[in-house]
Symmetry: D2
């Protein structure tokens, strides 16, 4: 090991090249030791991971020095009545934020007692939008027209790169000399950004050749990936999911110690009016908490918490209580690829019965999306209830951390 | 163990109550076994965590069943020239997205060779904004006036609840009968949401008593916490950080195989014009990737990736090359509290030399914020460079996952 | 007249009922006299209008007391190279803001000398989006599915109400129990909101009957009419227009006393980065000034300045100078209906050669849209040039008003 | 006249130079005749204006060829209970959109019968925000620090340019190398953009000299003027106004043929949820209609309809009915300067009792702002009521135009 450290130190050997001459665990150990030497930090626990990393060092993480361990708690059982998910589940949440699992758990309890959350997938399509430069607005219009008129050729180019994905739409948006082509795909059980990017590269080449458009960037931010964007609310991205539940006054009172009118008022003043005045794109209480918890547990891309959490929560007062719903227009989610193959992550997916590809293809990812939608509903319900009962601060004081 | 499972099954014992009668590791094991029995899933690796969980089950995660392990890679060394961070660091990134660490690493290399990233903290203040209901707009105005006129009493109420935090601002925003009071605090080394929530509860009580305002929710979404919101761009939240670096044409060519004009064009057409037309609040390439990687590694709240990543990336063409900068108006970050005390997370903070509270208080969190800003700059640079060189798809094909 | 005033005073006669018993001009005179009596204000000039009001009191303005006179100046000639407008025009601008006409005039001069503005209409469709209440998310999905599956019936219902309009799209957006159906129409030469509203009422009835959806409002703000909204940027509304022009360094220097690089820098720092950080949906300098000036002169609905002006201005540095473009995604404009039939307004439309319906239908409105796009380009160019040359304040001092 | 036309035709004489050698009315007549000759359009009615234009050709409109006449109707009486406006008013609305005056009139009737609208001005400050370029982020921070530390010098520079305005705030926002300084002023009875621009130029020079910042544009779009922008919602701009009224069930039923719950539901589903999902910055039904009508009648800048109309409408269900409010965070409005001095416009201001400067200074503009807020409330109430009663389409059919 000393030899390696010496060669790393001298620059003879590159840090990322260790896996070329050492088995994964040894490479990681050498790298970690080198970093410890450079920084003086002890990284012993980081190095005491127990997952297999043979694939990880190739597909998930370069320059690996170990693994961080994030506590996973469960909330549930949560009754879900979707088209793909129909039954009860325990929701795994990876989190370090005290009170979160307890809060979601309370929401699950209310939903399950109410007979379950109705869930529907409204749209399904992952996107990538290259941006091209045109010579002038006439040329830009010409490029857009070409795309509109050559759908079959575009589909052929895209689908030549993938055995799973299907190109379902190609929308053009022109801004001056900038031509954005938003390509949408059915990515089955994959979240699909990788598949979509590769297919889009092929389509971009085709468009450039046919029209003289100059490809500026394979992603032109009209996708929109990992940034909050109204286009994702308006057109949807990934799986668009809505989940809702009817709660009676009695149940509201018993579980949340509040009432229908107060729940509705909190939602209106906070989630609707507050977010409106704040110039927000998120009209919810804390969807990001649940999305982040599930995403980290289940090997999803945590940067997708950004758009995955742009939820709208609505509370309708009904004759006997309330109907509460969350809508997630833009949930990027999958059960194959990315971090889903790592041991602990795959176990969390197994807990939900959605590890790996489904039969038919896409059914696992959609089931996962439906369960996630219902879990976000549980989280929203619980926090709205807590706020309504003005219990938030007290809950934090009891379970909190940085007093 | 069987006894426990039977009592859990029958409902005699609540899942969350196990820690009351068992030591943490046993409680977690029993709970995991119960969940395995209920779902048929094997959760062995999830249970083979190696971190100490004595505090975790109390402060970080209820209903714990184990831990998910996320690979951590390092990018660097990264040279930073901030007011709190001046030196070189290896950046720990917890990720399952192939190519990310390699990409950030390339950016670090460019920055370090260019002499380092200049970084500045522009503002520093964590916020919570209760919403009150007024009787009418006259009353609403009266409440706002009272808040404006009683700053000392508000500070006293807030600071009675915390030995660390300092209330630095109280802004009122009236919308019809809704009065939002956005309280801002200096939270020193803590990210501070917890501290701020507790202090805000006290302030809210004071305002309600003095004015007859009815407290509707301790958070009125004008904070804005865990939702993308323009108010955070406009006023800042958490640490507002800017990082920048000047790159010569020669360095751009050598590291990124492109040139200054192309980098600038990609940034303009993608990050500025693309995001503008998409109705986005994020004018960057993939800040969320870096923020998520650092946040998960270092025990930050991953739901804060939402606002933490709302960055603006700018590229100025200069006589000899470019000056590239990222600005993060709203980075919630801390080195104490939350998940920062867990073994692996604390090691990642140690790697950056910022574990625990700093001297003087606040200096660790600010150093951490500066390093994070520089790391996001590295990530932006690298992706812009890759797009400029049209290498994105190729990189994904080589390192990707779900082909 | 005294009799009428007495009866108005006593409440026997309603102010709006005067036209039922008096010819238009007399009714207006009586009403004005009554208001003068009530308020003590002299409204003599308001009453000295010279337009015919026979139709106006029926179709344009209830409770009329006179007319306000807004000065109209001309800018031009402006050379336009569109698909509908190919030639040179003088642009009528109704305005009271000193320096505006002069500024647009300078922009026209630059464009015309450069050979004219290339203009293209990218999309064309006026929208109305009723909102329905569903029982739950399952029902909401069912309603959306019904709409997707019954396009022919929807078209038939819509087009039964109009001899001109054609329904071109019906997009459903579900949010909890809220189902928005965004109906898009080709409205030919009309701006079309009225036609579209009537047709949408019919479609809404059909959907309600077929699905059990409860119609809540004929406009659900997903249209989006007279509010700034990203959906209009993303999907377009009314006529979507782009106009651009290439300027040489010599011309920039001569007309604007600045250079290509400075123009580009002003646009990037102000229109792109400034608007981004401000959380704006308008990435331009002052498109609203030109839109308002043309709209008031030409009898358009001035409330449509809101979305009509949500322009994006782009400046590309080219080998010999710049290519400057404006894109107006959402320009509601027409040459028949609304205020287009009033004497002075029709004269302004005549000045542009677009009064009344075109042959074929739609060609006048599109020609008008192209000219308007080019005029906005002239305005943007001129203000960017003025800012670049730091002449803004000086121009205001010379031509301004409220010193 | 022929001589002039010949010289104009030949280019010897510039169109804008006519006023230098002719009295205003003659210059306008010659110019109009020339344009008629060039275009073949008859502009007789445009030329038959009856207002005095001696000042207009100097201060309001260059290249004048006549005036457009816009019908003015009145709605009212409207009872207002503000701090500046306490009484009843007839609201002048310049419009060509059938049904608008009638609709506002119905809203006025409801408000007045309910005892009047309570109105409050929440903030008051007109802004201009120059953008400077810094060398790097360290320099940018230095510039911001200088501004924060030299408030007195900035005030002195600003106020040297105006006898009326007072600089009340200077906020810095840094984005990479872009430093925006948002200067806020009390502009008394003026809308004030002109005053503020001139003062800002002086301040910009001071900052540039003292810090080495390079002034890029006197307006950096952080103002934000004539573009929809969240910063104006968050910080306010111009006069920030809220108006509200309590309506009983009986009154709702009588005037609007609907009930409290339905009004509240329409507002929630349309103005809150619809606008949220549309990515809108306007959470109202049609505030722009009323703002445009009043602005054109009263000589305000109609391009300011953009931000002036970014209202939030709220409906609270109360024990006996509803409390409806509108909040206009960003209403640019004045009673001196701009178009307020034109004959017909001044008469409309007189109708409201706010022509010219008030005593004390600012009181007229504030009174005008309060009345405008109440008028927008009337408009919102009426359209919400019409939608609630599903009367919208019918109203359009009866009063509409382009059937």
């Amino acid at each position: 090991m000393e030899t390696y450290r010496g060669r790393l130190k001298s620059g003879q050997l590159k840090l990322y090249a260790l896996e070329q001459s050492l088995p994964p665990d040894e490479a990681v150990a050498v790298r970690r030791a080198f970093i410890e030497g450079e920084t003086g930090a002890s990284l012993a626990t980081l190095g005491s991971y127990t997952i297999g990393i043979g694939q990880a060092v190739k597909k998930n993480c370069e320059n690996m020095i170990g693994a961080v361990q994030v506590p996973v708690g469960v909330a549930g059982p949560l009754r879900v009545r979707g088209e793909y998910a129909d039954g009860e589940w325990y929701i795994p949440l990876a989190t370090t934020e005290g009170a979160l699992v307890a809060s979601v758990n309370r929401g699950c309890s209310a939903i399950t007692r109410a007979g379950g959350a109705g869930v529907r997938i409204l749209r399904d399509g992952m996107t990538r939008a290259p941006v091209f430069a045109a010579r002038d607005v006439e040329h830009a219009k010409g490029i857009a027209d070409w795309v509109d008129g050559h759908r079959d050729a575009i589909i052929a180019a895209a689908e030549a790169t993938t055995s799973h994905g299907r190109l379902t739409d190609a929308v053009t948006i022109v801004t001056g000399t900038n031509v954005f082509v938003r390509l949408e795909f059915d990515t089955k059980d994959a979240m699909g950004m990788n598949m979509v990017t590769i297919a889009s590269a092929k389509v971009a080449d085709l468009i450039a050749e046919a029209t003289g458009a100059r490809l500026v960037a394979l992603s032109g931010n009209m996708c929109t990936d990992k940034k909050p964007a109204a286009i994702n609310l308006v057109r949807g991205r990934g799986r668009s999911v809505a989940a809702g539940v009817a709660l009676s006054e009695a149940l509201i009172h018993e579980v949340f110690k509040t009432d229908a009118a107060t729940l509705a008022e909190v939602n209106m003043r906070k989630n609707l009016i507050g977010s409106a005045r704040a110039g927000s794109l998120g009209f919810n209480a804390h969807a990001a908490n649940i999305i982040a918890g599930i995403f980290i547990a289940c090997g999803q891309d945590p940067a997708h918490v950004v758009e995955g959490s742009s939820a709208i929560t609505t509370v309708d007062v009904t004759p006997g209580g309330v109907y509460v719903a969350v809508t997630l227009p833009s949930l990027p989610i999958g059960t194959v690829g990315g971090g889903t193959g790592l041991d602990t992550q795959r176990e969390c997916l197994s807990l939900l019965g959605v590890a790996g590809g489904g039969t038919p293809p896409g059914s696992h990812a959609r089931k996962f999306a439906e369960i996630t939608g219902a879990a976000v509903l549980a989280g929203e319900l619980s926090l709205l209830g807590a706020l309504a009962a003005q219990h938030l601060a007290r809950a934090h004081q009891a379970l909190g951390r940085n007093k």
